[in-house]
Subunit: 139 residues, 2 copies
DNA sequence: CCTTAATATGAAAATAAATTGCAACTTATA
DNA sequence: TATAAGTTGCAATTTATTTTCATATTAAGG
């Protein structure tokens, strides 16, 4: 991860009145370098062998803190599991309805102004559903 | 609900090898006449006093059946509760981040062809997040 | 109409995801 | 370093959804 991004992370954490802990750093780094929009449990699985003190509870709590601080965002899903994104700027997603993978698209979603229907919307995101290339091969 | 829509419902149910039951009719009618994209529990709450034999379990099972039959679709959400839509054609949604309300937008989302990035996507939907008019008043 | 096989239902138990209480521990600041 | 504020892990809890299983209903055929 870029040094600037880690610095920005520390600043935002501090300015939210939160403390910098190894667990928070680890969770944020892990989301930031993932491209698959992991859920809490997936993050925990990836971290539990690398990071000494990390519990699933803390991953859940960390995600809530990072979300409040504006460092991560939830990704809209059709399932009953919340998934997270460290890319907080508006962008679009492709979801494989077969394997559940979620990846970023280059497609730029319209701005709230362009949609402007029900007063002030803040952000927009386009969600596309289909079958990813890997899933098409081994049908 | 239009007679044609109810007939279409019965046909699709049958062609999926499912039986027409009062519970299924009631759940489908309720979603179809709702504009707020209810979850299973909300549907149950709205139906339990109107329909003699209806249980939350059956509402869950009915939603799964209707989804398989292509009569309802899930709406992407940021929460851990699945919400449903009887409007199955591609369209866009506005979500109030304050009260959780989800309403349809007229904005027509791009077609999968227009996005075309990762092979074959099937459907696209634009999600817009903001504060609804009611929530803006009583802030 | 009746019969019957296939399917659907409700209640309760089970599972899965996320949250909370609490005592022990860190962090940041002075 | 002392210390107050904030954080952690574990276990218990809550919330959402699914499954089990015995009973009931549907649709088709006679
Ligand atoms: Mn993303
Ligand atoms: Mn809709
Ligand atoms: Zn896939
Ligand atoms: Zn609102």
């Amino acid at each position: 991860m870029l040094k600037t991004k880690l610095e920005e992370f520390k600043e935002k954490i501090k300015s939210s009145g939160l403390k910098i802990t190894p667990q928070r750093v680890a969770v944020y780094k892990e989301i930031a370098q993932s491209s698959d929009h992991p859920c809490a449990e997936e993050l925990y699985e990836r971290l539990k062998d690398k990071i000494e003190g990390i519990s699933l509870t803390t991953v859940y709590r960390t995600l809530a803190s990072l979300e409040k601080a504006g460092l991560v965002k939830r990704v809209p899903t059709l399932k009953d599991k919340i998934r997270y994104d460290a890319k907080v700027e508006p962008h679009s997603h492709f979801v494989c309805v077969n394997c559940g993978k979620i990846v970023d698209l280059d497609y730029v979603p319209p701005t709230p102004e362009e949609v402007k229907e029900l007063g002030d919307s803040l952000t927009c995101t386009l969600m596309c559903y289909g079958i990813c290339k890997e899933c098409q091969v081994d049908e």
